[in-house]
């Protein structure tokens, strides 16, 4: 095989997988991984490492794969990431490590994500955990939220010897990894639970069912429970709606609700007590990864699915791979289309979306070409369920109950790149600061904050 082309990864057949919730991608086997690893030219100044938000030593771990030293490959990744099997699956590598790969200038970039997944899956299947020598330093740190930011922060703090407790509002740890990303992209028991278990092995405690701001406040944690510092990684959990007529009709749900029912509550499986409804036709409004996840979930639950997006595929914030997978599975996409009203019947159930065609004009502040309505181009898209996937904003609960913690106009906590907030001892990072972004950016922010916390604690 020529070295210019990446080793393709085997996937479930689109027709078959569109009816099940098993993982789409099978990942590399040993032969494929070795072949792909051999394509890496081991740059002296690796651009991939700089482009990785947690700076994994990529050429080093690829070298270890090639040498057949999987424990060493595991250790190298483990130094910088506590969730490699997660990141190997859901990171937008094409715009990070792989986007910076020198091979990518003329040929295919190295499939770094697939190799990372290969290493992490090997470690899990072979029950290999690198030894960690931890010296307790007597400092207690509370981490709020067990999503990617919290887990990454907790990992680094625990390795440095802190006594770390993560407080999670929901009944299961993992944050967006558990409630947001579907099983077919990220297996829960096999991958997420395992990697969270690895974090626990470092001595990190996780207390579920604690809504910080309600069940306990940050002040109570610091004043009554002896926490020396707090990291807030509570994510961006509040769904945005469109504010158009008919949005509260029965059958109109946020992507958060739809995915939480299916993923966290397991409603995709008939033995769950939590109901989910898709009807015959589902329209999903939005063009991000969450929209793709909702569309592909609805499809697997038996609906015909149409994605409605106001720009074109080029501007879609979703990963190219996700859009490709969705189309392959049979999701229809209506580009340059914007809903102006939700239509309903006399019983108050949604019957469709009244939409208008859009065209793109000069770029707006996001750098993407701005969509404007084409007058008189209204048309209807019939549907039984409409899923709104237009992004999320931060939950204001923690900020409102923590005096002295400043927030911006989007309710996000104000923190610098190091996670330092306006309140001494309180640090923040991930979506709660930046608004909805990616797993890996949140992990990067969690790690930065961990550094700042250790500095603040003087350890």
């Amino acid at each position: 095989m020529d070295k210019k082309t990446r080793v393709p990864v085997r996937e479930q057949d689109p027709v078959i997988r569109s009816r099940n919730f098993e993982e789409v991608s099978y990942g590399y086997d040993q032969g494929e991984a070795l072949l792909e690893a051999s394509r890496c030219i081991q740059c002296k100044n690796p651009r991939c490492v700089a482009a990785c938000p947690v700076n994994i030593q990529i050429p080093q771990f690829i070298k270890a794969v090639l040498d057949g030293d999987m424990p060493w490959a595991t250790s190298i990744i483990g130094k910088d990431s506590s969730l490699p099997a997660v990141c190997g699956r859901v990171c937008p590598q094409e715009s990070q490590c792989e986007g910076a790969c020198i091979m990518g200038i003329k040929h295919d970039p190295i499939a770094i994500g697939k190799l990372e997944r290969y290493v992490a899956d090997w470690a899990r299947k072979n029950k290999y955990t690198p030894e960690e020598e931890i010296k307790p330093n007597g400092k207690k740190v509370a981490v709020i939220g067990s999503g990617p930011a919290g887990l990454a922060c907790a990992t680094d703090l625990a390795k440095a010897g802190c006594d770390v407790t993560i407080f999670e509002a929901l009944h299961k740890p993992g944050g967006v990894l558990v409630y947001g990303i579907p099983e077919f992209r990220l297996p829960k028991e096999e991958v997420v639970d395992y990697e969270i278990g690895q974090v626990r092995k470092l001595g990190v405690k996780i207390e579920c069912n604690v809504v910080v701001g309600r069940t306990v406040t940050i002040d109570q944690l610091m004043d009554n429970e002896g926490y020396h510092a707090v990291f807030v990684g509570s994510g961006a959990g509040l769904p945005k709606f469109m504010g158009i007529p008919g949005e509260n009709l029965n059958g109109v749900v946020s992507a958060n609700e739809f995915l939480t029912r299916s993923n966290l509550m397991g409603a995709y499986s008939p033995d769950s007590d939590t109901p989910i409804y898709v009807g015959r036709r589902v329209a999903v409004v939005g063009g991000g990864n969450v929209a793709m996840d909702a569309a592909r979930t609805a499809l697997r639950l038996g609906a015909e699915v149409t994605i409605v997006y106001r720009r074109t595929e080029k501007e879609m914030p979703a990963r190219v791979e996700e859009v490709h997978h969705a189309r392959e599975e049979g999701v229809a996409v209506q580009m340059l289309t914007n809903p102006v009203a939700v239509l309903g019947n006399e019983k108050g159930w949604v019957t469709g979306l009244k939409c208008i065609r859009m065209e793109l004009v000069e770029p707006d502040e996001s750098g993407r070409r701005r969509p404007v309505e084409i007058p008189g181009s209204e048309f209807d898209i019939p549907c039984d369920v409409a899923v709104i996937a237009l992004g999320t904003s931060s939950n204001p609960l923690i900020a409102r109950t923590t005096p002295g913690l400043e927030i911006n106009r989007h309710n996000g906590i104000i923190a610098d790149e190091k996670g330092v907030t306006s309140r001494p001892g309180v640090f923040a990072g991930g979506d709660v600061v930046t608004g909805a972004a990616t797993v890996i950016l949140a992990m990067g922010a969690g790690r930065e904050a961990a550094k700042s916390i250790l500095e603040y604690l003087g350890v």
Binding site: G251, E257, Y277
Partner: protein
């Protein structure tokens, strides 16, 4: 785990449970609610708080066996535990921000319907302790379904019981009793209605005739209860609000009850199916 310290049957299919949940108990306030889950496949079920004891670390809840999930809750016995018990959720009642002096001069009327009697209890208890004058109308279908009358009598100035069939107390709906009280010249500074959505709607219509300020507590559908899902959205004063974080209590006159009632029925067909399976003992029920 959240152990059930005490279980008591209040009426046919209605039970009270005292649950060990120290963190919840230490921060609970009148007007708030909790979410429970039974078993790994269990649904997250929002329930109102009926009482809380920070010293004992316990929260008291009241459940009625009506569907598949409440059946699972009801089936738990003393000594057993809930898989999950989270709270206190939602905003506390407005009056907790008022000082005692102002509360001492106030007269409150609570209208409790059926299971809604439970969440009324911590509110009237609080107000009574602060010296407010409190009266309560408790409504139920029939005598057997009247709950917490004795407990209520201990903490309020006056309890009026109404039954639809006249088997006990005043014969008629709570709205008729409310009308009677208002027509006979009673004056209240604030009324609060908690019960089935349809009852709250009609109490609102009645209260409006007397320009009686009214708060209602909305028991909407919910999944997470922390503002994440939006299943609980209601239209209040023309704007969309989330009952879980903006409520559950709202100014009754601003609530779109018809929409709220319609939204409550969203998963009725699935729930009926689950309940049916559960009753006939199918494994996947």
């Amino acid at each position: 785990m959240y152990k059930i310290l005490k279980k008591r049957i209040l009426a046919p299919d209605i039970c009270l449970m005292e649950v060990l949940a120290p963190r919840v108990a230490s921060n609970a306030q009148p007007g708030q609610f909790i979410i429970v889950r039974v078993g790994e496949k269990g649904e997250r079920v929002p329930l109102t708080i009926c009482d809380y004891d920070p010293k004992a670390g316990s929260i008291t809840i009241v459940t009625q066996r009506v569907g598949a999930s409440s059946r699972k809750i009801y089936a738990l016995e003393e000594g057993e535990s809930f898989s999950d018990f989270v709270g206190p959720l939602g905003l506390p009642s407005e009056f907790i921000h008022e000082n005692e002096e102002s509360l001492r001069n106030k007269k409150y009327l609570f209208v409790a319907g059926g299971l809604g009697t439970a969440p009324v209890y911590p509110q009237v208890k609080y107000l009574h302790q602060k010296g407010a004058h409190v009266e309560v109308i408790i409504g139920a279908k029939t005598r057997d379904l009247v709950i917490m009358e004795e407990e209520m009598k201990n903490v309020v100035d006056q309890v009026y019981v109404c039954t639809d069939d006249g088997s006990y107390g005043f014969k008629g709906l709570v709205t008729a009793k409310l009308k009677e009280l208002m027509d006979s010249g009673n004056k209240y500074d604030q009324a609060v209605a908690i019960g089935p959505m349809i009852m709250m709607k009609f109490v609102t219509l009645t209260a409006k005739e007397y320009k009686l300020p009214l708060i209602v507590s909305l028991n909407t559908l919910m999944v997470d209860g922390t503002g994440m899902c939006g299943a609980c959205r209601v239209t209040v004063d023309g704007k969309t609000k989330f009952a879980c974080v903006d409520g559950p209590e709202f100014d009754a006159y601003q609530v779109d009850f018809d929409e709220a009632m319609r939204r409550q029925t969203m998963y009725k067909p699935q729930e009926a199916e689950a309940d049916h399976k559960c009753k006939i003992g199918l494994k996947n029920g």
